[in-house]
């Protein structure tokens, strides 16, 4: 790593450019120039990632880095490191103006990046002052090279060379004098060169300069400006207050056309004006140069500065550079106007991933100014909410509402929509469903007859409102519209180009599909995950609902290994705190997995954690009784029926009356050796009078009844119960209820020829005996020809022990028919024997009697 640390104007950037521009560079170079006063860590990292991707060339497959409202610095650094490592050839990462990085988070993240650089990467940092980067290890290992001010200073010989290269003729004494006066400072020398080029009497200039006590920069800039035609001087002064300038903007500020020509000429003539793009449309002045010009502007044209800031702000707003526009409005001292602009755009800025920029802009308002401004209060509410300070956010919202009347009438609607939207977000964070519904309905009304900006703002809000509402509804029992709202939200988000909201909606849609056939839910989850991966958000917290739902789905069908992998991915995505809801799902699914593997102690830990988190939500959630039921049942199975009874006694009436808790009661009874009691406990579930979360509870109830019948010696009833459970499980190929209830014996006692679900039975027994089902082989090629329905019927009997005549009898067809069909089946599956046919059929998921995918 190389660090160039030297004061302003020492020539750092020139050095970097000259070095990068050398022909025959062996390495690819990624350059980031940190923007002035960069508070926003995400903006910095996006620029860096973008530069790395550009350097790696078209080989990079992923989309350009997109900003997200919530920024995970750790994940970003990992991403950068992996893309750097992928590059294989040497890469040089250049970060210029690092002292402008005002975000402490970003510096910490950068340190981690630098300490973990892959061996093919060389980093070069340029800064005005030494930074707290903790590079001691590198320094001690001799892997850090430093270039400091003393190294960059021009020697007398180099001064002479510079002057000669600029065509300036100066005596030896003159060169020495110049060198001495500037102390070899690059900026000073270049400024001097500008004035000396074409000067009638260079010696006199140098003598006068040397005899002056003025600071070098000031003297030379004043000289340089004096020698410029008025037109150019005016342009330089007036545009000095911009961070970047183009011809159009400069024309606007000078009130004269032709600025682009001047800027291009300036760049060609000296190194204080540099273009920022290959087409040379945007330019920037050297910071030192711009700072001095700005001071001169304030001194020479004091009344003009605010007007110039305003004009710039107007242009920038029209061209979508809102954050800069707000800065200029603040610089003009127009605080109320700046507040309006910020209020109008804070929302979209946040969605664009510029949350920290919004905070920096907020901080720039003088303390106490506009304390009662409802629109600014709204912005503050938004920021504090995003940081999880819910009570503070509520307080700001209260201010916004109290003073809402003071807003001009034409802005009232926008303010109220903004307030409703934040209350929605707040209610969601607190798990307050009633609050969510109330606010979401307010926002649901469609948009007509408003300005373009209003519509855009409202669309943003509507998409978010649909998302929040869908999420809240998915989590509460009795709200069937969750899926519809989430689908609407995703569609709207796609329309208005908000991929982040779209992915969030689709991820929650996966979760909300839990009452659908598994095939649908899995498809939706995979779609959401694929979309997230495409944007590089595969490890973000908002995809967690889809990840965990997929994990749960795998666990339900007995694919425990696969389910465990998805759970691990979910855990990684939940590194940042996302609230009790999703973590609850994680624990619940882990509990299911452990229970399926009969690891009762571990399952108990997970279900307890889920139960505890559930109690933190303001309202009871959709899966509450399921969690409680399993918690009690696991206590009983772990040999703690007393503990289970104690918890049972503490339940409220509603929870205690649910089907899931009824099942749990049966488990306790069975554990206590009371099969008759168990039968009584599941009665309500079996006859449909108890409320259940889904049909899995009924399947479970049948199994528990079966176990009870078996304990009571009634084998026929036990078989019937098992068969009913299988029937319920067939459509989704459920395995978990059988695993959790420990029904291996029950199933084995069921005669094969008495079941219509032999294939499923065989699969379940496989899992119960310890072998996990193979994950669906996504790459398995489907059969060349599809199997006909009658062939499928025969296929499903293959896993059983039935002979061909027996199968023929079951299906009421001739033996010949069966033989023919088997030949066809073997041919289509490209196998030659029965067990291979079964194996292949399993891989291709052909054994299910449910709806085909």
């Amino acid at each position: 790593m190389t660090v160039i640390s030297a004061p302003a104007g020492s020539g750092k950037t020139s050095l970097l450019r000259a070095w990068a521009g050398r022909p025959g560079q062996p390495h690819r170079i990624a350059v980031v120039q940190v923007q002035r006063d960069q508070h926003d860590a995400q903006q910095f990292w996006l620029a860096l990632l973008g530069a790395v991707r550009q350097a790696c060339g078209p080989a990079s497959r992923a989309e350009p880095p997109a900003a997200t409202p919530g920024f995970d610095g750790r994940a970003m650094v990992d991403r950068v490191l992996s893309e750097l490592a992928d590059a294989r050839d040497g890469i040089t990462l250049v970060i210029d103006d690092l002292h402008e990085l005002a975000s402490p988070d970003a510096l910490a993240q950068l340190t981690r990046l630098l300490v973990n650089l892959p061996p093919n990467v060389h980093a070069v940092l340029a800064t005005r002052r030494d930074l707290p980067l903790r590079l001691q290890q590198l320094r001690l290992a001799g892997e850090l090279a430093e270039i400091r001010a003393a190294d960059l200073r021009f020697t007398e010989r180099e001064t002479r060379e510079l002057l000669e290269a600029s065509g300036i003729v100066l005596s030896e004494a003159g060169v020495a004098l110049l060198h001495q006066r500037t102390e070899g400072w690059a900026a000073g020398l270049r400024l001097a060169a500008i004035s000396l080029a074409g000067h009638p009497d260079p010696e006199r200039f140098v003598t006068a300069f040397s005899g002056s006590d003025r600071t070098v920069a000031e003297y030379l800039i004043a000289e340089m400006l004096e020698r410029q035609p008025d037109e150019i001087k005016d342009l330089l002064l007036r545009t000095s207050l911009l961070d970047r300038v183009n011809g159009e903007l400069a024309d606007l500020l000078t009130g004269r056309p032709g600025s682009e020509r001047i800027l291009l000429a300036l760049e060609d003539a000296n190194a204080f004006v540099v273009s920022l793009d290959p087409e040379r449309t945007w330019f920037r002045y050297h910071h030192l140069f711009a700072d001095l010009l700005r001071l001169e502007l304030r001194r020479a044209l004091p009344e003009d500065a605010p007007a110039l800031h305003r004009r710039a702000a107007g242009w920038l707003t029209r061209h979508g550079q809102v954050a800069d526009a707000i800065r200029h409005t603040q610089a003009a001292g127009d605080w109320p106007e700046a507040a309006r602009l910020l209020a109008d755009h804070s929302f979209s800025l946040t969605l664009d991933g510029q949350a920290q920029t919004v905070e920096a802009l907020l901080r720039a308002f003088p303390r106490g100014a506009l304390a009662d401004d409802p629109e600014l209060a709204l912005v503050r509410a938004g920021r504090t909410l995003a940081r999880g300070r819910l009570d503070e956010a509520a307080a700001h919202l209260a201010v916004a509402e109290t003073y809402a009347e003071t807003t001009p009438p034409d802005r009232q609607r926008r303010l109220r929509v903004g307030i409703a939207s934040l209350k929605l977000a707040l209610a969601t964070r607190r798990g307050n469903l009633a609050g969510v519904i109330e606010q979401a309905e307010l926002l649901a009304s469609p948009v007509t007859g408003q300005s373009g900006q209003d519509i855009a703002l409202d669309s943003d809000l509507r998409a978010l409102a649909l998302m929040h509402r869908g999420i809240a509804e998915a989590w509460s029992p009795g709200f069937p519209d969750a899926e519809r709202h989430l689908q609407e939200g995703a569609a709207l988000a796609r329309e208005i180009g908000r991929p982040y909201v779209e992915v969030a909606c689709l991820a929650q849609l996966g979760f909300a599909s839990k009452t659908r056939p598994f095939a649908t839910a899995r498809r939706r989850c995979r779609e959401a995950i694929a979309l997230a991966d495409r944007h590089g958000w595969g490890a973000e917290w908002m995809i967690a609902p889809a990840l965990v739902t997929l994990a749960a789905s795998m666990t339900w069908t007995g694919e425990f290994d696969e389910g465990e992998r998805w759970l691990q991915r979910t855990e990684r995505a939940l590194q940042t705190d996302t609230g009790p809801g999703i973590t609850l799902l994680l624990h619940m699914t882990s509990g299911m997995l452990q229970a399926g593997r009969r690891r009762h102690r571990e399952a108990l830990e997970e279900f307890s954690a889920a139960e505890h988190l559930g109690s933190q939500l303001e309202r009871s959630h959709a899966l509450a009784s399921q969690v409680t039921g399993w918690l009690l049942a696991t206590h009983a199975r772990a040999g703690q029926p007393g503990q289970a009874r104690a918890l049972l006694a503490a339940l409220d009436h509603e929870r205690a009356g649910s089907g899931e808790v009824g099942n749990a009661r049966a488990v306790i009874n069975l554990a206590e050796g009371d099969p008759a009691g168990a039968l009584g406990a599941v009665q309500d579930v079996l006859d449909g009078t108890a409320p259940v979360t889904g049909h899995v509870t009924v399947a479970e109830a049948h199994l528990l009844a079966g176990l009870a019948h078996r304990d009571l010696g009634d084998q026929r009833a036990a078989n019937q119960a098992a068969e009913r459970a299988l029937a319920l499980a067939e459509a989704d190929r459920l395995v978990l209820p059988f695993a959790m209830t420990g029904s291996a014996d029950l199933l084995e006692a069921l005669p094969r020829h008495q079941t219509a679900h032999a294939a499923l039975l065989a699969d379940i027994l496989d899992v119960l005996h310890g072998s996990s089902l193979a994950a669906q082989d996504q790459t398995a090629s489907p059969p060349a020809e599809k199997l006909s329905p009658s062939e499928l019927r025969v296929l499903r009997y293959l896993p059983t022990n039935l002979s061909r005549p027996e199968i023929a009898r079951e299906l009421s067809v001739s033996l010949n028919t069966v033989a023919t069909q088997l030949r066809s089946i073997y041919a289509k599956l490209q196998v030659s024997d029965r067990s291979s046919a079964v194996q292949r059929a399993r891989e291709l998921r052909l054994l299910s009697a449910g709806p085909t995918r």
Binding site: A8, G9, W185, A187, T215, I221, L292, E296
Partner: protein
């Protein structure tokens, strides 16, 4: 560059403003001086001394500006009421 920052008697940050004298090499002209409106300039030989009442934040703001303008910082000194060095009796106007 020598920096005389005040001794911390009780180990606490003293937030109250204090008078500081900041010495820069070279004579500062009107343009650069406009960057330090809270400070009074005086020439001392080839240097300029900027004096004024600053709290800590303001002090570091001034130092940041000195850095940004590429000025040559020579000394930062906190002035206590008793400590009036003879140099400061010299009041040649800029």
């Amino acid at each position: 560059m020598r920096v005389h920052l005040p001794a911390l008697d009780h180990g606490l940050m003293d937030p109250a403003p204090a008078r500081y004298a900041i010495r820069i090499h070279g004579h500062l002209g009107a343009t650069v001086l406009s960057a330090f409106p809270a400070l009074v300039p005086q020439h001392h030989g080839a240097d300029t001394v900027l004096t004024g009442l600053l709290d800590r934040s303001a002090l570091y703001g001034v130092l940041a500006e000195v850095e940004a303008l590429g000025l040559d910082l020579v000394e930062v000194r906190q002035l206590t009421p008793q400590r009036r060095s003879p140099e400061f009796g010299d009041s040649r106007s800029p």
